[in-house]
Each structure stands twice: as C-alpha cells, then as structure tokens.
Amino acid sequence: MKQIKIALVGQPNVGKSMLTNAIGDTTLHVGNFSGVTVEKKEIKFKYKDYEISIVDLPGTYMLTNYSIEEKVTSDFLLNEEYDLILNVADSTNLERNLQLTSELLSLDKKMLIALNMSDEAKKENIDINANYMSELLGVNVIPVSAVTKEGIDKLVHNTVQTFEKPKKTTKLVFSEAIEEEILNIETHLSENKYNTKVSYRKIAIDLISENKETYKILHDEPIWITLQPILLDSIKHIKTHHDEEAMIDIFADEFMAFNNGILTETVKVQNVDSSKLTTTQKIDNILIHPFLGIPIFLFLMWGLFQLTFEIGSIPMDWIDGFFVWLGNSVGDNISNNDIRSLVVDGLIAGVGAVVLFIPNIIILFVGIALLESTGYMSRVAYLLDGFFHKFGLHGQSFIPLVTGFGCSIPAYMSARILKNDSDRLLTLFIIGFMSCGARLPVYVLFVGAFFSPESSGNILFAIYISGAILGIIMAKILKMTAFKGESEPFVMEMPKYRLPSAVLIWHTVKSKTWMYLKKAGTFIAAAAVLVWFLSNYPHNDILTNSYETKIGLTSNMEIKNNLSNELNQKLLEQSYLGQVGKFIEPIFEPLGMDWKMAVALQTGLAAKEVVVSTLGVLYSLGGDVDEQDSTLIERLHEHIPFASAVAFIIIMMIYLPCLAATIVFSKEAGGLKYTVYLFLFTTFVAYSCAFIGYHVALNF
C-alpha cells in the first residue's frame, strides 16, 4: 500500500478542519475564529490502494513568522517531509486567499488547490473558471464544499493523481525586473554546478526575497564569494524598479499583481448592489454596537449559565436516583463488608458524583462551541480590546480566556495566537481564573447545598464572572510588576458570520463529553478507590470493639445511633487520610475548614472532578447512619458552615489547575520556573481571597 502525506495549508477561516472532516469523515474540532488549529493535527484514511495522511496545519495569512502558530506552519512546510501541499482557499474571498497560494507556489512543491465554500460562492454569484485557473497556475484547482460534500471525491481522486504524476512546473511569474534577476542568479548557480535538492529558481527567489534560511545555507558555501556581488546588484536593480524600500513590500506587491491577473481571467462576479448591507453587516450593526455590544455579550453569557443550571438540573435528578439505586442494589448482593464498602462507598459513590454533572458539562460545551463556530468570538475580542488593553491584556487574549471556561488545556495552547512573549505569559497566568468545566460540578454541588434553587443560576454566573474580574485585576497587577514591556499590536480578522453546523457541534461536544466520561471511568474511579482506601484503613479493631460493646449494652435507640456515629467519625479521623488531613488542618483552620475539606482540595490538584468524588466518599462514610439515603448535597449543607463553604468555593476558583493543565502550562510558558511562579501566585491569591471571603461571610 502506498502512502501519501499531505500538508493541508490555508488562511484562517477557510474551513480547513471542516474539509478534513468531510474528506476523512473524522472528528476534528472546527471553529470560526483565527487559531482553532493551534497544533498540527494528523488524520489518516484509506483510499483505493493508498494510505493517505493529512496534516492539518494552523491557519496562516502568510508564510512569515508572525505568531507561533504561523511558525508551526512555515517550519513544517520548509523542513519536514511530505508528498504534496493541499492548499485550501475560500472561494468567496480569493483575492486574499491567493496571496498565500502564490507564496506556496514559490516553494516549488507538488501542490493542488481546493476552492472551498463553492456553494457560498454560487449564492454570492461568484463564477470561477477552475479549469482555466488550473492552467494559469500550473496546479490542479478543484472547487469543493465541505458543507455539501460537493467535489470531495474529485478532490481525493486528484490528490492521488497529483501524487503519481511528475511535478508540473508552476507558473508563478514575477515582473520583468525580478524575472531578469532570477535568471541571472539561476545562471550563476548552474554555471558553478551548485549541488542542491531544491530547484535553482527556488533558491534565486529565496535570495531575492531575503529568506534568512536560504541565506544561512548559502553563506557557508564557497559559491557565496562569487554569488554575493551578483545578488547585491540584483537587489539594487529590483529596488530601483520598485520605489519601495523593503523587499517584503515588493514581494507582496508582486504576488498581488500576479493574483489580480489570474482573478481577472478566471473569476466573474455578477454585479451586486454594494450599497445593500450583507447579512454579516446587519448582524454586526446590533452585536458590535458601541453601546449595546457589551451588554448583549454579558447577557448571552448570563443566559448560558442560567441554562447550564436550569436545564442541567432536570436530568441530574434522574442520574442521581440511578446511582443511589445502583449502590443499594449492588450493595445488597455483596456479603463481604470490605468489598461492599469498596464498591458502594468508593467506586459507585465516587464515579456517580462525577457522572452526575454530565448535563451541565454538555450545555457549557455547546455554548462555547456556538461562540466559536459562528464567528461571534472575534466580535467579542473587538469589543473588549479597549477594555482589556487598559488591564495589560490583548483583545485576542479573550479567545484563550473564554476557552478556559471549557478546559484550561486547550486554553493554554490557544494562547499561542499572541506573538508577544510578555502578552502571552500574562494571558497564561490569567487563564486559571476562568473556571474550567471540571470545576463546575464543585460549584453546582456547593451552590445547590447553600443557596436557594431560584438563585442558583445567578450565583453560578456570579462565581464565573467574579473569577474573570479577579483575573483581569490580577493581569493589571502582573503587567505593572512582572510582565512589563511593549504590548502586541491588535490586528485581527472578523470572519463572516456562519450558521453553526449541527453536525460539527455534535462532534465537538460528543468528543469532549466522551473524554469527560472516560476520565470518570478511569482516572477518577481510581482516585475514588484510592481515597476510599486511605479513608478506611488502617482498621482499628480495638476502637471498633470497644464501641460495639457499648452499643450492645444499651437498648436506647438514640444512644445507639449516637454511639455508632461517633465510632464512624473516630474511625475516619484515625485513617490514613484523616492523618494527612489532621496534619494540614492548621493551614486551613483560619479559613474555617475542617480536615475533610482540606483533603478534598488537595485531591483537586490531580483533577478538579476528584474534589466532588472525595467529598462524596468522605461525607458518606462519616455521615449519620440513619441518613444513608440522603444526598451529598444535603449532607454538605448539614456538616459545613456557610462561611467555610464560601472560602472553599473561592479556593476552588483560584488555586492551581489540575495536574494535566499544569503540565501543559509549563510547556507553553517555556519552563518549570514559571510553574513554580504560578503555584506561588495562585496559592497566595487563593488563600488571601478565601480568608477575606470567610470573614465577610461570617457576618451573614
């Protein structure tokens, strides 16, 4: 079986990921704002006798090294092995998209072009002669639509053909002056029989366009001595012809002239009334209105959290009931006390406590996916940049920050869209203040236990928004102290609004929910069992026996119950977990927390969901015997004072993210040093805020 490796390249918002979805029928995450594909993703599928792998590279406007994600793409294209380039372009905006195409043509590789969104182009009366364009460019051009799947088969078929046939000479031509100099350098290279894998033309273009890599390579070669004067002359000649100073402008101009030539020949646009507003403009008139824009955004976010709570709580009761039933019926069939406790109190209680929050998680993820895929996210970046800028953040920091409400891991990664190091580091430090989806169960649990059902949605919204506000204040403080320096310019595309595709949202949410469930079944189940073990052992037979004798001696039911509660409490306290908890209790005492809460917070360092399962295990073991059937919410309400609960929530909002996220943070920030800073920073802020919160809440 032959293997074909394809590099998928295109500008942001041209539907690259969606096209890969259509081709390979897989499930990649697709978004409608710059920077969805932050790392290259690879998908594989079989077609006839070929095994095709597509590397989906981050969207880039040009092959320059402006941001890290753009660097990922150009590094891959220049240094890695692949068979051909598949360039995806937006049919409705070819004048922009061909700019990258012509740069790609200058790489001199096998290539084909997919004109995506051909269905939209038809609607906009844009008529593209793809065959003629193929002829003019010297590469195959295929109109496709990732949405309607039109042309996909032809595209795959053409990919194989391009792979099998020898490379066609691309027809990228420059203006006379440049072509003349390219020829000069080519001649010099061939006269000296310069040995290289790439074509002479490519080297010549690279040298003239001041490509640093090519300079480095040639600089170490003997030919450099004779080449340099020729090159200097060439550049001087070109610059006198164009009265621009910088080569980058000259080449941008050249590419644009070439593209305009192609477009005049191949694209016919039926006259449309330009005074008529497009749908996007009409929507923008409302959504980015100078006065209404921000209130609308806040309202939408508020609505999302209301939905999360209101609709989410309906199936929660069913799930809760199911796990109580499961625990009871499984428990009845296990005679061994230890094993029953392990299964019912450890496994089922722990995993059940986490699975319970699936409905909330789904709603939150659907909300974020909608924000991303419609194009609204970049509008919000536009609206908020002025405000963010005052606090030392960047409008585009908003994208990683909102992603942070879902999960910190992709959020840390999407911070790469910020080029400036100090802007990016600052954003990385603040992401944790945006409470992630895994923290939601803890909030829902505590809000449910301590607030009335009517106010739950509002409290939840308040938790999220105050976390975000605190984050922004912290950004200002950090900007003034640790991350001084120039801010990055803010220049961002605002893509057309697109109707979200139900299929894509479904895929995104499905894969995220599945990941959450998988985590619940593996990592969290294991953690729950571990917590169960640590809280049940060592057994203390002397203590148990002495209490059981006492219980046997009395006939008063009330005294019996009290004694057995006391026993459970004492057993828990002398367990391994109890010992650890007692050891760290003094640290948490000023916050009004007992050792159980302290332990739950520590387990949250592994994963935030574990906090819930730990509380589930700890409070079901130490709970009242005659209240075995009460829910965790009721038990928390009974055993935890209000002020301590407030302190607990505040710590949850601020302290170190989970282990996996911390590792990603360390990688993205560029060193363990920053992880130590993050730990110290979050711990200090969390503790001080919780301390204040506790004392304020004591007054209620």
Binding site: Y61, E95, D284, D385, G386, P489, F490, V491, E493, M494
Partner: protein, 79 residues
Amino acid sequence: MGKTIIDCVLNKSYLVKKLHTTGALRQRLISFGILKGTPIKYLASTKMNATYEIQVGKMTLALRQEEAMKIEVEEYETN
C-alpha cells in the same frame, strides 16, 4: 503625516498611501493585504474609538487606534 484611518469618514472608500511602521506590525498589515494602493473603508469603532473596524477588500479587520493611526490614506475618486 497626512490623513490616517482615524480621520476617515464612515463608510467612504480610501486608498492606502503609506504604512508608517516597520517590523512585525508592518508584516502583519501586509499579510492582511494592506498595501500601498489598497482600497480601505472605515466601518465602525467601539466606544471612545479604542478599536476600529475596517474593510480591506472583502475582509473585515479590527485594529486598535494606535495601529489605525499608522496607516496613511488618501481620497479615492470613485467616479
């Protein structure tokens, strides 16, 4: 320096005359197709004119006032 984007009349077409910036920002602007002679239109701005929305070709871009002030434009004769 002559007129820049911040002096433009709303929804009127102008031509880019000169980019008063070098380095990364210049590269960024060029990568969005903002070159000498490109038609450009000022569409909207946020409160206090902190951020501008402009149209370049078929693309809508957002940029800060600081950046908008670095793009010099000239009147564009439509008819």
